[in-house]
Symmetry: C2
Subunit: 214 residues, 2 copies
Amino acid sequence: MRLAELSERSGVSTATIKYYLREGLLPPGRRIGATTADYDDTHLRRLRLVRTLIQVGGVPVAKAREVLRHVDDESLGRTIRAGAALWALPRLPEPEAEDDAVVTARAEVDRLLEELGWSTARELAPLSPDHRSLVVAVASLIRLGYRWDARLLAPYARLMHQVAVHDLDNMEEYPSEAERVEAAVASAVLFEPVLKAMHRLAQEEESARRYGLS
Amino acid sequence: MRLAELSERSGVSTATIKYYLREGLLPPGRRIGATTADYDDTHLRRLRLVRTLIQVGGVPVAKAREVLRHVDDESLGRTIRAGAALWALPRLPEPEAEDDAVVTARAEVDRLLEELGWSTARELAPLSPDHRSLVVAVASLIRLGYRWDARLLAPYARLMHQVAVHDLDNMEEYPSEAERVEAAVASAVLFEPVLKAMHRLAQEEESARRYGLS
């Protein structure tokens, strides 16, 4: 398809598509003349992922380029390929201080991973920004005086593991490896708000069941 | 305890405590002299909740006051009391347009709630900001071309219901009604980052189990 059709089908303006091409977020089309190029479904899919990252996820252009470089690296196995892309997503800044709360939180998270038998998570802990995010989140609970330890965290972690099982089952329904990796990255950005809203709705529902509405 | 001790034990400066008192975020202490007042554990707990809302949740002062007014309204039943406080928390702006994606998303969310038998969530749907957040989140998936329907959403919603069951079980361990409502609000702000980080870690773990690390 030509640029105009790519714009029409993706809902992205031709000016924005040209910008993404210049920035290397979208691979060039196949040249079919001095000023025209041909695009295909892979461009359509890539545009969807770029919009997800930039417009929904608020990922800066340079970061998006880094995420996509991992998505496109066919030399990597699937876990590392999707993992590297996800690890490149921007996060909240980490606290500079290794205060008592962080030390306690790290010990509880380590105990949690051991109890759960999550051996990869334990092995990757020193590298994983997700491990650090969990330690930081638990530290802020502890700092405010809420007592959250491995025993209280474990049932939540088991449920989130079941969520991850559904994620990967859904991902496996995509026909190509490129689409599977793209879907893993897109859903990490897009699915968090869905889970968060479901969680709140479920709290209301369960509260009404236990205590009524009045 | 005096102001100095309240500051010491809460880790909040006396200047900030005075500011919270002036803004009505913290109830006044019991007067015990012309210039001194006595504070107790309820003040300590309230300070913790105020810090959670303002420093962690990024809630503006006026909003925090509104949330706390609901928390303190003993005339309300527990579901409504915690619910009203949670509904007052700030959210992402809603899209102005009722486009096709929003219409489709609302129909799928309605089907989902019916299939799940979440009767309160259905009854409160026209009022609930959480229902609207779910519709908006599903609409953004649909708009990007990811096909998410009630059938795909249902297993996630069932898992988030189990998460909510644990939330309420934990909440019920607090000794007083005031503490239970406070814990519900604080955990809504503080626990989302924990669940999000656990979800990502679980994805890595499950991916490594299925496909290995190389």
